[in-house]
């Protein structure tokens, strides 16, 4: 029990630090992430450079801190877009009658048939590589998952006895939607969004690694790892720290998301 509490607290703290690093990176480090010192390339971690320096002599710690914004932005942006899109599409499917439901579900099937990463590849080929393309591509790939959950929840709530009873008391359609459908459906969907956030961040860093994310010289964890690849044999720190940052971020987001999900499950299943 205590372990669980501790885990949640740690996760929230980590997320808070990350938000801070993304919004006000200068508060966490004085160094300039783009200052190249060609006399000090690939120095191991030390008192001067906590995370060492990269192949251009730039301070790794500063690059990791400043890279938080770009690294998180795509993931958060994609998750938000997917959430909004999923809610719209899912509601459309649930309320659209039999025909609407079928049409929407078939469209979702089509999107679902292509893995998310390949969708971004496709988008990048058409619209050019960049952070925005990556976010939109990932969001589109995730919409079917959200839409399915929303659709299932809305249909379940609509068919429940308490909604039926509310109509029996003379409630209008709108008040039922506002008072019962939305509050009961929002929980599971939001929890799913938090859990998906982790997957989005992994995916966006993978895309940056192969060059389809934010273009240089923007500091970004996936791009940093791409640069570090050539030096894996001689320097471990350019590889380890950005990757650890990604892992830690995803872990924190997933922990918070799973707790939310369990909290909402418990509320329903009594």
């Amino acid at each position: 029990m205590i372990v669980r509490r501790l885990g949640l607290v740690l996760a929230v703290v980590v997320l808070a630090v990350l938000v801070l690093a993304a919004a006000f990176p200068s508060l966490l480090t004085g160094a300039d992430p783009n200052a190249a010192d060609l006399l000090a390339t690939l120095r191991p971690p030390s008192g001067d450079h906590w995370f060492g320096t990269d192949q251009n002599g730039r301070d790794m710690f500063a690059r990791v801190v400043y890279g938080t914004r770009a690294s998180l932005l795509i993931g958060v942006g994609a998750a938000t877009l997917a959430l909004v899109g999923g809610v719209l599409v899912g509601t459309l499917a649930a309320q659209g009658g039999r025909v609407g439901d079928q049409v929407v579900s078939r469209l979702l099937d089509v999107v679902l048939s292509v893995p998310g990463l390949l969708l971004v590849f496709l988008a990048a080929a058409v619209f050019g590589a960049g952070g925005g393309t990556a976010a939109i591509g990932l969001a589109i790939g995730a919409v079917p998952g959200f839409a399915r959950v929303v659709r299932a929840e809305v249909m379940r709530i609509r068919g429940s006895h308490y909604v039926e009873a509310a109509y029996g008391f003379g409630a209008t359609r709108l008040s039922v939607v506002l008072r019962h459908v939305v509050p009961n459906a929002v929980g599971p969907v939001f929890a799913l969004a938090m859990v998906s956030l982790g997957a989005m961040i992994v995916a966006s860093s993978s895309l940056s690694f192969v060059g389809l994310g934010p273009q240089p010289p923007t500091a970004e964890w996936g791009a940093m790892l791409a640069g570090a690849r050539d030096f894996v044999s001689i320097a471990w720190w350019p590889t380890v720290f950005p990757g650890a940052a990604i892992t830690l971020t995803v872990l924190a987001a997933t922990v918070v998301g799973t707790r939310l999900q369990r909290a909402f499950d418990r509320k329903e299943a009594r």
Binding site: Y162, G168, F169, G170
Partner: protein, 551 residues
């Protein structure tokens, strides 16, 4: 290894099962406290009690399956002379299925849905080596035939969901008896079944007992116990409060709890009086029924169930009338269409043809605000109150919803409604899902009354409740009718409840009304064969004292 054959001597001195001062403790709960009982071959011993009494724990403990965290202690616990208390797991496994079999309430869940019925029945054969492998198929057919399953070869190849409830229960009994045990533990074996099917299963069990099988019957239903058991123990809060031959215990109960339980059973004999004794005003006569509030005329409704091409007829040419201040009972088995009829009366479902009128106007002609106003006048109470409340709501929010929609949720009005149903004001702050079953149902009634309805449709509203809780809710309903003159449509499969509470009754079967009329008269002299069949199947005829077994 062959199965054990029951002893030829009818009454040996040493009982098959001997239990003295058995206690079972879980962390924080004393589930069973110092119970003692014997079971002899050919005897049916019953443990009767309400939910939470610990009776199922007793049953499972005899198989060493009390559950994780259970602490079992007893002065004595023997089976055929062997001491169960020291049993290692290996000896339990020999006992389970081989010498003691178990049947539980819901065969659909009790069978592995992914395996065939035949495989499930044969599993005991496999475990105990009762017959050789290549004889499994024939043995399964023999077992299914012996429990009365027609077309056993086909059924053995099918999966549990393809059998009807009654056939499944028979197959479950067959699987429990496959390795020829001497004792069968039956935990609520007929609770989930229609009354007519229940009668056949009880007959089957009685037949096996007559052949020498010892039976431990666990049940909450005093009527079933009266029909079947030789000896009964009444259990409450983990302890036995009374025991003895069935005819004595149910005919002349000594303990107060047993008397309360018996008094709480609704039947023809309890008409017009309070089941719990707390509402003496019910004894006075009800006013004459008033005008016609709801009328169904020639109503038809059929559904296309998923997969099948034949439509299911839920209602065929159904006509009935609900008058102000009167209770109309709608009785029938599962699939009779009674729920659909109730929903059509409340305008939750539209009939395919025929009309349903409220105060002379067909529902079809009502739209918009007029329809909403009319809907308020007919409220529904469901069987499962858990699904009837928004899971996030407190009791206060549940009760306030209809009040808010009519005007405002005033505290004094809410207190008044709670008083009508006998709920304390302290329930208001609690989440609705945390209330007990009886409290939830009363809250549902209070909520329905908040809309000031003329008619209340109770769809199996008390079927999921314990006898004593059911008695309370029935009393509340009767009391409310006396005070407010609300009309009821009482949908139930339980004839005893309908005979207790209804003024008029409609008997349904497969979507058709087979008989209708005033309550005491119709049941005293039924005309239609199905009505007679229903009445015949009710164990104890709704009044356990009327059917006592000679000891």
């Amino acid at each position: 290894m062959t199965g054990h054959t029951p002893s030829a001597e009818a009454a040996t001195d040493e009982p098959l099962v001997r239990v003295r001062e058995l206690s079972v403790r879980f962390p924080g709960v004393d589930a069973v406290r110092d119970v003692s009982f014997d079971i002899r071959p050919g005897q049916i011993v019953a443990v009767v009690g309400e939910s939470g009494s610990g009776k199922s724990v007793v049953a499972r403990t005899l198989l060493g399956l009390a559950g994780p965290g259970a602490e079992v202690s007893a002065a004595a616990a023997t089976f055929d002379g062997q001491d169960l208390l020291g049993f290692p797991e290996a000896r339990w496994r020999t006992l389970r299925g081989g010498r003691v079999g178990m049947v539980v309430q819901d065969a659909l869940g009790a069978f592995d849905p992914l395996r065939t019925v035949g495989a499930e029945v044969a599993e005991s054969l496999w475990q105990h080596g009762t017959v050789r492998r290549r004889e499994y198929r024939e043995e399964v057919v023999r077992l299914l035939t012996a429990v009365g399953v027609p077309d056993p070869r086909l059924r053995a190849r099918q999966h549990p969901h393809q059998l009807s409830g009654g056939l499944r229960q028979r197959a479950l009994i067959a699987s429990a008896l496959a390795a020829r045990p001497e004792l069968l533990i039956a935990d609520e074996p007929t609770t989930a079944l229609d009354t007519t099917v229940q009668k056949q299963i009880l007959k089957l069990l009685r037949g096996r007992a007559d052949d020498g099988l010892a039976v431990l019957l666990i049940s909450h239903d005093l009527a079933v116990v009266a029909e079947l058991a030789d000896h009964v123990h009444v259990m409450r809060d983990g302890a036995f409060v009374e025991e003895g031959p069935t005819s004595r215990v149910l005919g002349a109960p000594e303990h107060e709890y047993t008397r309360e339980l018996l008094a709480a059973i609704p039947s023809a004999g309890t008409r017009g009086r309070s089941l719990t004794g707390q509402y003496p005003a019910l004894a006075s006569d009800k006013p004459e029924p008033g005008r016609v509030l709801l009328r169904a005329e020639g109503v038809h409704k059929s559904y296309l169930a998923g997969g099948s091409r034949e439509p299911i007829v839920a209602a065929h040419d159904v006509s009935l009338v609900v008058r102000a201040g009167e209770t109309l009972g709608v009785v029938g088995e599962s699939g009779s269409g009674k729920t659909t009829v109730g929903r059509m009366l409340a305008a939750l479902v539209e009939p395919d043809s025929g009309t349903v009128e409220i105060d002379g106007t067909p529902w079809r002609r009502l739209r918009g605000a007029r329809r909403r106003d009319a809907r308020r006048r007919v409220q529904v109470i469901y069987q499962d109150p858990l699904s009837a409340f928004d899971p996030r709501f407190t009791s206060a929010q549940v009760l306030a919803e209809p009040l808010r929609l009519k005007g405002s949720a005033r505290a004094d009005r809410m207190a008044e409604l709670l008083g009508l149903v006998g709920l304390a004001e302290s329930v208001l702050d609690r989440p609705a899902r945390q209330l007990s079953g009886g409290q939830r149902q009363r809250l549902a009634i209070a909520r329905a009354l908040a809309a000031e309805p003329d008619v209340l449709i109770c769809d199996e509203a008390v079927s999921a409740l314990d006898v004593s809780i059911q008695a309370q809710v029935l009393d509340v309903l009767s009391d409310v009718q006396h005070r407010l003159g609300t009309a009821y449509v009482f949908i139930s499969h339980d004839l005893g409840v309908v005979r207790h509470i209804a003024d008029q009754v409609v008997v349904m079967r497969a979507g058709r009304v087979v008989e209708s009329g005033a309550v005491p008269e119709l049941f005293d002299a039924p005309q239609h064969p199905h009505t007679k069949e229903l009445l015949d199947s009710v164990p104890g005829f709704g009044d356990p004292k009327a059917l006592v077994k000679p000891s």
